[in-house]
Amino acid sequence: MKIKNNLVLALSLLVLSFSCSSDDDNHQQEPQGAYEDGMLITNEGNFGQGNGSVTYVSDDFSYTEQKVFFNVNGTLLGDTAQSIGFYDDLAYIVVNNSQKIEVVNRYTFQSVATIDSGLSNPRYITFLSGKGYVTNWGDGSNPEDDFVAVINLETNTVSSTIPVEEGPERIVTNGTSIYVAHQGGYGQNNIISVIKPNSDEVETITVGDVPNSMVFDNQGSLYVLSGGIPAWTENETGGQLDVINTSSNTVSATFGFDDNEHPSNLTYGESLYYTLNGGVYKLAVGSEELPTTPEIEVVNFNYMAIHNNVLYGVDAGDYTSNGTLQSFDLETNALKHSKEVGIIPSGIYFND
């Protein structure tokens, strides 16, 4: 088994170096590992089935490798691969239902450590001042036990926890503060928690219902997209986009969607992009009104991200067979590439 995995690694290294050397460019830099210059796709897998995985897709889509963690380390990644955070040369893979974080070298995927104590339904991770911050739902059925775990990156252990309100999900930082979007776990919530390093004080900002994605623009404003409360609750509310001034941590502008509109997947690349009803919409920074026509139509993205003016999205398909990664050129809005990835892809991470 070990030999086989090393063989896979060696072969993939070979393939990569071959493709590099045949490429007649001036890149003389030694590759840092097989999984540089491409994307890491987290595939959640089916809850309880232990088929979470990471797929590597090279920048030009010419090379794809499924189940990277297993290929390199010989053990299955875990149950419900939720998200990845990068810190220096390391990738922190948050594996929700395995209640752990796998720490690997982001370029070679060699395992470095496993953090499997002190987490409870971990979701997303970010880093500030040499510490990791991980959102945790606690028990999904208990609205009182949610927290952000602080990770000591030297020892790879949970050093402390910060109690927060129900359903912390996405977590981002601008280098000063940490912003946590409370999507609400099994329920619905409508706040952003602001955490300052070395302080136990948690400030909250009220935004739209069910904040599902957050981005900073190049001016340092934080955009929070809320999906609104879904119709099945019989308490439906429409989506909302809130702009937060990060100096005062107050909402400076708000865009409202119709009551039956539930946008998601806010991302930023010169302009803001989000998905709504199978379309990708573009909103220029500083616009006063929400767009009415989509830039790209008929997609079903579970997640999307922009990199070098290319939009990447993952489609989970039927949730029981492999999903796909698609890329669109934002100059023309035309489909560039499409590649099969793993089961229920839900994250795209650029491993440059």
């Binding site: 897998g45 089916n46 089935q49 149950d79 239902n97 209640q99 028990d139 208990n142 029981t320």
Partner: protein
């Protein structure tokens, strides 16, 4: 007289030369002692396999363990003792009906029975009826049905059975059974308790099965009173209280807990006069679960359904050779729980069954049923079956039927996702069987074809919300072999029963074998006894299965047992039994990433007096 009939009944089974008058009496007696007479009378063209108590006592009491080693049914068990669901002839977990004394007890919530919530020790026999049975048994009897029946014997007797067992993983089992009666009344009662730490080793790892503890209490009380030659009153009751922690997987730890509560009660009034038999049944079923995501926390989600059923059965012996039975049934189901409001459903069904013994070798049956349900339209279903007995040792059986499964409360009302526009699943099938038998050997060979459309499956809509839809069409076909051998040389008794099934079950959309349906499954039971000693061996071969995104390896598991019969005094018999389960210490997973137990031991003492 009744006592004589009882003896005749026991001796008369399988004897074809019983005179007609006796047959009549036996039929009447069947009606008196059994609540599910349809299984005997209206199933000529179906394969019915009976597992008697000497088979039951060799298995560790759960219906999963019993059927896994003694039938063609394949089980998916989420780790030993956890939720267990059958796949009968390639069908899914909600397409096998479990019938308790004639009443379908599949959950109204999810359409299934968890076979680890049925303790077999309070039943004298378990019967497996292969093939479609919706006409007789209603929703879900598509692959087949499993029958749990209690018989009431109206003769003077009092028998006690005490059974105690202790085994690996601190597994304790205790059972007391009482059967007593006189000419006009009969009572049997049983109580069984099982408790296990269930902390077995995950072979090939340094882990053990954490959070797998379970205990359950099962109580049965059945009573009958013959008012006179024409009237009998009967009461059946069963309670099951289960408390299980749900073990995790190799990759996901668990701290969850699940509590099952089931109460099933039935009052039956039978009236017999000349060629008429009439039975009125009133049934109350209660199912309730509590799921604790964290067993140490107070938060749980729960669901409950109560069913009230009224049923009238009228059997008319039109001529010496023709029986007609009509059944009308009214049912009211009401649920409540955290994931849906307070849904109610009313159902009414009318059924007619016809059985005609054309000549001594030829019997056929025709039956038809129509359901009327408050939430959706149910199809008219029917069944045709026949048996031709070429000789005493060879018979041909054929049946064809249309069957259905109604959407469950979860499918209809679950919030979010419940879909009120669902149709029942409907299925056509045909099954051809051959049975050879002689003094030493019995062989059953069956081939079947089942096609089911409008299969209900939860699929994501364009917002990623999972909702049930009638989307799939599945075709299953295959062959089954069951072989029973019996031989005696002096004091040496040999017996064997074994089965093999070949099952193809494909989704029509992609022609791929469904997940968790093995192409091959085989089971073998071999017993040898000499005077008071008996040795038995059980073997299971379970072929590879498809799982989401891959395959799960097949496996072989064997169990070895030794028992010793000892007569303590004239009226007290004891059986001491020692069993080694997973004799070869096979590393295997029945469901992916959920390892099954390593080699383990069990000592059981049975006293009968």
């Amino acid at each position: 007289m009744k006592r004589l009939l009882y003896i005749l009944l026991v001796l008369g089974i399988g004897n074809f030369n019983v005179v007609q008058a006796q047959l009549d009496s036996i039929q009447k007696l069947d009606e008196v002692i059994l609540s599910d007479v349809k299984l005997k009378r209206y199933a000529s063209g179906f394969k019915v396999t009976v597992l008697k108590d000497f088979v039951l006592t060799k298995s560790p009491w759960s219906l999963t363990d019993l059927l896994r080693y003694n039938s063609n049914i394949y089980f998916k068990e989420n780790g030993y003792g956890m939720v267990s669901s059958p796949s009968f002839r390639g069908t899914n977990a909600s397409q096998t009906a479990v019938v308790w004394n004639g009443i379908n007890i599949n959950s109204q919530l999810n359409g299934q029975v968890d076979f680890n919530t049925i303790n077999t020790s309070n039943y004298e026999a378990v019967e497996i009826r292969s093939g479609g049975g919706s006409v007789q048994y209603g929703s879900g009897a598509i692959g087949g049905s499993v029958h749990l029946s209690n018989t009431l014997s109206f003769m003077k007797h009092t028998d006690h059975t005490v059974r105690m067992s202790y085994g690996s993983f601190d597994t304790k089992r205790a059972n007391y059974g009482l059967s007593t009666g006189s000419n006009n009344w009969s009572v049997n009662a049983g109580i069984a308790y099982v408790d296990s730490e269930n902390d077995y080793k995950y072979l090939g790892t340094d882990k053990t099965n954490k959070n797998g503890q379970y205990d359950n209490l099962s109580f049965n009380l059945n009573a009958g009173y013959l008012l006179n030659d024409h009237h009998v009153l009967k009461l059946y009751h069963q309670s099951f209280l289960g408390d299980r922690n749900f073990s995790g997987t190799l990759l996901a730890p668990s701290k969850s807990k699940y509590e099952d509560t089931n109460y099933r009660s039935m009052l039956e009034w039978g009236y017999f006069h000349k060629q008429y038999t009439s039975k009125v049944k009133v049934v109350h079923l209660l199912e309730e679960f509590k799921y604790f995501e964290n067993k140490d926390a107070e938060h749980f989600s729960f669901g409950r359904v109560q069913s009230f059923i009224g049923n009238h059965n009228l059997n008319i012996k039109l001529t010496e050779t023709i029986d007609l039975r009509t059944i009308i049934e009214f049912a009211k189901y009401s649920g409540n729980g955290d994931d849906f409001a307070n849904p109610n459903r009313n159902a009414f069904s009318a059924t007619a069954l016809w059985r005609h013994q054309v000549s001594e070798p030829l019997i056929y049956g025709l039956s038809i049923r129509k359901d009327f349900t408050s939430d959706f339209t149910s199809p008219m279903v029917f069944s045709v079956d026949g048996e031709y007995r070429f000789s005493e040792s060879y018979a041909l059986k054929l049946n064809g039927s249309k069957n259905f499964r109604v959407p469950t409360f979860n499918d209809l009302y679950w919030n979010p996702g419940g879909n009120l526009d669902l149709l029942p699943e409907s299925s056509y099938q045909v099954d051809l069987g051959q049975e050879f038998s002689s003094k030493f050997i019995a062989l059953k060979l069956n081939a079947y074809y089942i096609t089911t459309k409008d299969m209900i499956q939860w699929v994501p809509d364009n917002t990623g919300l999972f909702r049930p839809q009638n989307i799939n069409k599945v075709t299953s076909y295959g062959g089954e072999l069951e072989l029973f051998l019996k031989h005696t040389i002096g004091n040496h008794h040999f017996n064997m029963n074994s089965g093999y099934s070949y099952t193809v079950s494909e989704n029509d959309a992609n022609a791929k074998q469904l997940i968790y349906v093995p192409l091959h499954k085989a089971n073998l039971n071999f017993g040898y006894s000499f005077k008071a000693m008996e040795v038995f061996y059980q073997h299971l071969f379970n072929g590879e299965v498809n799982i989401i995104g891959g395959q799960l390896d097949g496996y072989d598991v064997g169990n070895l047992g030794l028992s010793y019969n000892y007569t303590i005094s004239k009226n007290v018999h004891s059986i001491l039994q020692f069993t080694i389960n997973n004799l070869y210490n096979t590393t295997y997973e029945n469901v992916a990433l959920r390892p099954m137990p390593n080699r383990n031991y069990q000592l059981q003492l049975t006293l009968k007096f």
